[in-house]
C-alpha cells in the first residue's frame, strides 16, 4: 500500500508537465493551429523560470517569467503561422530548433547552479484521505495549479461562449469569419495560451521536478504531449488520463529498479517513447474516431478575405 501510494504520487508528479503542455496545445489545436514548437517553448520556459528564480530568489517571479517566455516564443510562431500564413509544420519545427538553441545559449552560464525548488504543501483535511490524499492533495503548488488549469480548460470548452467561439474558428474559419468573428485574433490568443502553458510546463521541470537547468532537459516531453492531444481526441478529460499514463511510463524504470529488477537504465529510459509509438498505433486501429474528432481546419493557414 505504501509503495502503491508513492508510485501513484510520483506518477502525478511525472505527468504534470505533460498535462500542462498538452492542455495548452489542446486549446491551440482547437482553434485550428498545430504548433510543433512545444519543445522549444518548454525549454525557454524552463530556462527563463530557472534564471529568474536564481536571480530574484522568488519562485513566483520564476513562474511568471517562464509563462512570459513561453508566450513570447508562441507569438513568434503566431506571427509566422497566423499572420504570414506560413506552413505550420515548418514554423513549429523552426520554433523548436530556435528554442533549443536559444535556451542553451541563455542557460549556458547557469548549468550546475542550484535553487530551492517547489516543495510539497499538504492541503488540510483532504490530504488525510487514504491514498488519494497523498497522491492528489499532498503535492507542490504547481500540481494543484495544473489541476485548476484542467478544470478551467474543461469548463471553458464545455460551458462558455468563448469556448464555443474557439471551436467554431477551429472547425470552420470561413463560417466563423462570416459570422463576424475575428479568426486571426482568436488564433493568436489560442497560440499565446498554448505558449504560456508550455512555459509553465518548462518551469515545472526546472523549478519542481529537478530544480536545476540542463540543456535539452525536456527530453522530448513537448513531442509526447503532441501525441497525447491526438490520443485524447482533443478532449481535456482524456488528456488528464493520458498525461498520468505517460507519467507512469516514464517512472516505470525507477519502480522496477526499486523492486530489484536488474536492467539497463538506458533501455528502460526508452519506455516513454515506445509507449508513445504504441499509443499512436492503438489510435490508428480506428482512424474514423480520430478523423471525427480532429478540428476540421487543423494545420491549415487562414487568410481572411480570399
Amino acid at each position: 500500500m505504501e509503495l502503491l501510494t508513492n508510485v501513484l504520487a510520483a506518477t502525478v508528479v511525472a505527468g504534470t508537465p505533460l498535462l500542462l503542455v498538452a492542455l495548452g496545445e489542446l486549446i491551440c489545436e482547437r482553434s485550428g493551429v498545430l504548433n510543433l514548437g512545444q519543445e522549444g517553448m518548454m525549454l525557454m520556459g524552463a530556462v527563463a523560470g530557472f534564471v529568474a528564480t536564481l536571480t530574484s530568489g522568488s519562485l513566483l517571479v520564476g513562474v511568471v517569467a517562464a509563462i512570459l517566455a513561453g508566450i513570447a516564443m508562441s507569438l513568434l510562431f503566431a506571427f509566422m503561422a497566423v499572420t504570414l500564413a506560413a506552413n505550420q509544420y515548418a514554423a513549429g519545427l523552426a520554433l523548436t530548433i530556435f528554442g533549443t538553441g536559444l535556451s542553451a545559449f541563455v542557460g549556458a552560464g547557469f548549468v550546475g547552479e542550484s535553487i530551492d525548488g517547489f516543495t510539497r504543501v499538504a492541503i488540510p483535511l483532504l490530504s488525510d484521505i487514504p491514498v488519494i490524499g497523498r497522491v492528489l492533495f499532498d503535492q507542490d503548488a504547481l500540481v494543484y495549479l495544473s489541476l485548476v488549469a484542467f478544470a478551467g480548460v474543461w469548463f471553458f470548452l464545455r460551458h462558455t461562449r468563448g469556448g464555443l467561439l474557439l471551436r467554431a474558428v477551429g472547425e470552420d474559419p470561413d463560417a466563423a469569419n462570416a459570422n463576424g468573428l475575428k479568426v486571426l485574433t482568436v488564433r493568436y490568443l489560442a497560440v499565446a495560451f498554448g505558449g504560456g502553458m508550455a512555459g509553465l510546463a518548462g518551469a515545472y521541470l526546472s523549478l519542481a521536478y529537478t530544480p536545476l537547468w540542463t540543456e535539452n532537459m525536456t527530453a522530448g516531453r513537448g513531442w509526447i504531449a503532441l501525441a497525447l492531444v491526438v490520443f485524447a481526441t482533443w478532449r481535456p478529460e482524456r488528456v488528464v488520463l493520458g498525461a498520468y499514463l505517460f507519467g507512469a511510463a516514464s517512472i516505470l524504470h525507477l519502480v522496477l529498479q526499486g523492486l530489484g529488477w536488474k536492467s539497463s537504465t538506458e533501455l528502460l529510459a526508452m519506455l516513454p517513447y515506445v509507449v508513445t509509438i504504441l499509443m499512436l498505433i492503438l489510435l490508428s486501429w480506428n482512424p474514423a474516431r480520430t478523423r471525427l474528432n480532429t478540428p476540421l481546419s487543423l494545420g491549415q493557414p487562414y487568410r481572411p478575405g480570399r
Binding site: A85, A86, A108, A178, S264, P287
Partner: protein, 368 residues
C-alpha cells in the same frame, strides 16, 4: 496600412533571394547580440564566419562537417519533396553509426579491402531498417510520421547509449563508455593527406548529384514531386503513395545511415556517445535553406557546417557558450521561413482592390 496580398504567381526571384536575405538578417542579429554581450561584434563575426575557413586545415574541417549534413539532407530532400515530414535523420544517423560499429568491432583484427565496404553497408542497412519502421507505421498503421520519427530518434539515442555502456564497451577503456578503436582496414581513406577530411564528403556530393538526377531525370522523382504538390492528382494518375513513401523513407534512412557510418569510420574511429552534435536536426535546416535542390543543399550544408566550427571558434577565442551554434541555426531557419512568406505574398500599402458583388461588399463593410 500594410497589407499582405497573395501574388498572382509565386515569385521565383524571392525563392532564391530568401535564403540570402535570411543570412543577412541572421548576421545583423548576430552583430547586435555580440554588442549586447559586451563583445566586439566585428571581431565576433570574423571569428564565426571567416577565421575558421582561412586556411587549408580549416577548409578541410568544413568539409568534414559538411559530409554528414549533406548526406542527411540529400535523403531528407527526397522525403520533403513528397511532403513526408521525416524528422528522423538523427535517429537514422545514430543507428547507422551503431550498425557500422557493431560490424567494425567484430572485425577489429581483420585486414583487407572488403572490411570497409562491409562496415559501411552495415551502417546503411541499419539506417534503412530504422527508417523502415517509420515508413511501415505510416503506410500500414496511418501513424503521423513527425511524431514516430521523433520518438524513434530518442529510442535510437538510448539504444546507442546502452550499447556503448554495455555490449560494445571497450573492456580496457578505463571505464569510459566507448568502443575499441576500429582496425585500420575499417577506416575511411583521407581525401587530402595531412588533414582529417575523408571520403565521406565525396559520398555527400555523390548523394546530392543523385538527388539532382532523381528529380530532373527520373520518373520516380516526378512522381514524388506530384505527390508532394497534389496528393489527389497523384492518386488519379495512379502513383502509388505507399510505394513512394517507402522509397523516400528508405533513401532517407540509407543516406543518413551512411553518414553515421562515415562518421565513426572517419574522424572518430570508434563508437562514442557523442557521435552526433545534432547533424540530423541541422540537416532539416539545410534542406529548407537549400530550397530542396541539389546545388542549394550543397551550399547550405557548407554554411551550416560553418556554424558548427564557427561556434567552436567563438568558444575558444571569445569565451562564448558553445550553444551559439544552435542559436545561429535557429535564427537562420526562423528568418528563412519569415522571408519565405514573401514568395507567395507581397506587401501593399493601401487597401487591395476587390472584385465583389454589391451584397458581399456591403457584408464586408458591416464586418469592418
Amino acid at each position: 496600412m500594410l497589407l499582405l496580398e497573395r501574388r498572382p504567381v509565386d515569385s521565383a526571384l524571392m525563392r532564391w533571394t530568401s535564403p540570402v536575405l535570411a543570412l543577412v538578417l541572421t548576421v545583423i542579429t548576430g552583430f547586435f547580440l555580440f554588442l549586447a554581450m559586451g563583445k566586439d561584434p566585428v571581431e565576433g563575426l570574423r571569428f564565426f564566419f571567416i577565421t575558421p575557413i582561412s586556411d587549408l586545415i580549416g577548409l578541410a574541417e568544413l568539409g568534414l562537417k559538411m559530409a554528414p549534413l549533406l548526406l542527411c539532407a540529400a535523403g531528407l530532400t527526397v522525403c520533403y519533396r513528397a511532403k513526408l515530414w521525416n524528422i528522423g535523420a538523427e535517429g537514422h544517423f545514430l543507428m547507422g553509426a551503431l550498425g557500422a560499429s557493431v560490424v567494425a568491432v567484430q572485425l577489429v583484427d581483420a585486414s583487407g579491402f572488403w572490411v570497409l565496404p562491409l562496415v559501411l553497408v552495415a551502417g546503411v542497412i541499419a539506417g534503412m531498417l530504422w527508417s523502415a519502421i517509420a515508413a511501415g507505421l505510416k503506410t500500414h498503421l496511418n501513424c503521423n510520421e513527425i511524431l514516430t520519427t521523433i520518438m524513434l530518434n530518442y529510442i535510437a539515442l538510448n539504444l546507442l547509449l546502452f550499447t556503448v555502456h554495455g555490449p560494445l564497451k571497450d573492456p580496457y577503456g578505463f571505464g569510459f563508455p566507448q568502443s575499441v578503436m576500429f582496425a585500420e582496414s575499417a577506416l575511411l581513406p583521407d581525401l587530402i593527406p595531412g588533414t582529417r577530411l575523408h571520403l565521406g564528403l565525396a559520398f555527400g556530393v555523390l548523394a546530392a548529384v543523385a538527388v539532382w538526377v532523381l528529380f530532373a531525370r527520373s520518373f520516380i522523382g516526378f512522381q514524388l514531386n506530384v505527390v508532394g504538390q497534389d496528393q489527389r492528382a497523384a492518386a488519379f494518375a495512379g502513383f502509388g503513395a505507399r510505394r513512394l513513401t517507402w522509397f523516400a523513407f528508405l533513401v532517407g534512412g540509407a543516406t543518413a545511415g551512411l553518414a553515421g557510418a562515415s562518421e565513426v569510420t572517419g574522424p572518430i574511429g570508434q563508437l562514442v556517445p557523442q557521435v552526433s552534435p545534432g547533424y540530423g536536426y541541422t540537416a532539416i535546416i539545410v534542406v529548407f535553406l537549400g530550397r530542396m535542390h541539389a546545388l542549394g543543399i550543397i551550399a547550405a550544408s557548407a554554411l551550416l557546417a560553418l556554424t558548427f566550427i564557427g561556434g567552436e571558434m567563438l568558444q575558444i577565442a571569445m569565451n562564448m557558450p558553445k550553444a551559439t551554434t544552435g542559436l545561429f541555426q535557429g535564427l537562420l531557419l526562423f528568418y528563412l521561413l519569415t522571408c519565405d512568406a514573401f514568395i507567395h505574398y507581397r506587401l501593399r500599402l493601401k487597401q487591395p482592390v476587390r472584385q465583389s458583388t454589391p451584397v458581399a461588399a456591403s457584408a464586408a463593410t458591416q464586418e469592418a
